[in-house]
């Protein structure tokens, strides 16, 4: 039986998508009905065009991705949280600086974590290793980062490993520090919400000082260096209609590989500050317009829930055996804080870094890996199943039945569909569809995308 064939109405056509077969195509309604019948009815003879499609769909294709099993021997990366402190006071961020104890990772903790990770990599015959830095703002405890990078480089050289460094940063440091980052890091994810008025309005410093000019200057330094620059822009109700303008500004000012536009995740602080998530329809439409602008400059546009180049069972490093070390040596699967997991009824704790070794509880590993898209009823019949994989395990509730989409689902579905249409070279159809709110609603609100679902065409 052929499975995982999704079909979404696009005005008078159907987008057929079979991710396990890397197949996307457009057919008319009759073609979609024929395809469905050919899959479900053994004695049905479809037209030749559909027969050609079927032969692709009958080929083995990729296996559906599965959660990892067995002991952790190939961690996705080692994450280090040098501190949860931050020098900014972003109006929408209640996850770190404002409610975290101010501990800073000891150099020995960073050293032991790297050593334990590299030894694990050696035992597993890995050639490449990755160290990612998270915060707060990781460079707020810069000596930990400077030390960890030096230690990891030196040990990697001795052990014959290639090490990559990545950090997520607010970009507030002096030019000398920034040039060091540009020289030593492989990727920097820089939080830059837009031109000065937006950046200043949403991301002020703790002491009230303006920071936009500093971040913009540093984005230029990073653009000039060998580091890959990824700009991450938080989009609110107030800025969503400025996405094309933000895209033009970024394309003219900087040289990022990728611009990641993410809708604001509401928090107590963001509500207090009068910041709200964007309307999903506006977000999707403006995201595509912005991506057209960035594409012309050779810049990729990304949304974390729309990753089409691979198939995944989990949206994030959770379940992929990332080992994220907190200043106190706790090893967790998620870089968000314990309070956040607990609120969502989840436990992402894996173990402790103790006596220079990872002490990881196998039961905890199994528990964390079970957070997969296969456990999310809302996602079962959605065409984004293997790409969005249900979004953030902590912040995105998916305990609904199919079709009960929220804003994140709607924007993800629309942008996924638009991206597939673009891949098919159907830009003109995509733009006509984007301009037709009714057509968008029909596509986005379809409760099941599985072509073989009961009553699909009724």
């Amino acid at each position: 039986m052929i499975s995982d064939i999704f079909a979404v109405p696009i005005i008078d056509k159907y987008l057929i998508y079979a991710p396990l077969h890397s197949l996307a195509t457009l057919v008319d309604r009759r073609g979609a009905i024929s395809l469905r019948r050919a899959i479900l009815e053994a004695d049905y003879c479809p037209p030749a065009t559909i027969e050609a499609l079927l032969s692709t769909l009958r080929s083995p294709g990729s296996a559906a991705p599965q959660p990892r099993i067995g002991p952790i021997n190939d961690p996705y990366f080692l994450g280090l949280i040098p501190t949860r402190l931050c020098n900014l006071s972003c109006l929408y961020c209640d996850f770190a600086g404002s409610r975290q104890p101010g501990s800073i990772m000891k150099l020995t903790t960073a050293q032991e974590a790297i050593e334990a990770y590299f030894q694990l990599a050696r035992q597993s015959d890995l050639q490449e290793v990755e160290v990612h830095f998270f915060g707060g703002e990781p460079f707020f405890a810069e000596n930990v980062v400077h030390f960890a990078v030096a230690y990891a480089e030196s040990r990697a050289q001795e052990l014959g490993l290639r090490v990559r460094f990545e950090a997520t940063s607010n970009g507030v440091y002096n030019p000398e520090r920034c040039r060091w980052i540009a020289d030593y890091f492989d990727t920097i994810v820089l939080s830059l919400d837009g031109p000065e008025d937006i950046q200043e309005g949403q991301r002020p410093a703790k002491n009230g000082r303006k920071t936009a000019q500093t971040v913009i200057r540093n984005a230029r330094i990073l653009s000039e260096g060998p580091v890959e620059l990824v700009i991450r822009s938080c989009v609110t109700q107030a800025t969503v209609n400025r996405l094309p303008e933000i895209a033009s500004w970024i394309a003219s000012e900087f040289i990022p590989s990728t611009v990641c536009f993410e809708a604001l995740t509401p928090s107590i602080l963001s509500k207090k500050a009068g910041l709200y998530p964007p309307d999903p329809w506006d977000f999707a439409r403006n995201f595509i317009l912005a991506s057209d602008i960035l594409e012309e400059a050779g810049i990729e546009t990304a949304l974390s829930t729309v990753v089409l180049h691979n198939l995944r069972t989990s949206f994030c490093p959770v379940g992929q055996d990332a080992l994220i070390i907190s200043p106190d040596g706790s090893i967790d699967a998620c870089y968000l804080m314990q309070d956040d997991w607990k609120r969502a009824g989840l436990d992402m704790h894996l173990g402790w870094l103790k006596d220079g070794k990872f002490q990881i509880d196998p039961k905890a590993v199994r528990r964390v890996r079970n957070n997969s898209v296969y456990d999310k009823p809302l996602c079962t019949a959605c065409l984004c199943h293997y790409h969005c994989a249900g979004g953030c395990h902590i912040n995105h509730s998916v305990a609904h039945s199919g079709g009960a989409y929220d804003s994140l689902c709607l924007q993800t579905r629309l942008i996924t569909i638009a991206s597939l249409l673009k891949r098919l070279g159907q830009d003109s159809l995509m733009h006509t569809w984007l301009d037709d709110r009714r057509a968008l609603e029909i596509s986005a609100w379809q409760s099941t995308d599985l072509l073989t679902s009961r009553g699909f065409f009724e």
């Binding site: 050293q111 000596n143 400077h146 030196s154 520090r177």
Partner: protein, 94 residues
């Protein structure tokens, strides 16, 4: 009170590459590839870490005592002075 600090000699340029840090002494037409410990120290020094902080980070990096790290650091700095890539300066505090 007088403290010592170290700065790159005039005409010295350096670049980070995948093997380490390549330091070029233009006046002497000499180049040196700093790797491992030396590469780390060069980068930290250029981030303006103080001598005591360099000693403490070196001690952690090498797993040695601070006095031993201090001796090792002085040795390396002397070596760099000899190569003409580093100069010693005195900081005079009022």
């Amino acid at each position: 009170m007088k403290n010592k600090t170290y700065i790159c000699s005039a005409g010295v340029e350096w670049v980070k590459n995948s093997d380490g840090i390549l330091v070029v002494q233009g006046k002497k037409s000499q180049s040196y590839l700093l790797t491992g410990l030396e590469s780390a120290l060069w980068s930290w020094m250029n981030l303006s870490y103080s001598f005591p902080r360099l000693v403490s980070m070196l001690a952690e990096l090498e797993g040695i005592s601070r006095p031993a790290a201090g001796r090792r650091l002085r040795q390396i700095l002397e070596d760099w002075r000899g190569k003409g890539i580093l100069e010693e300066r005195e900081i005079i505090h009022g």
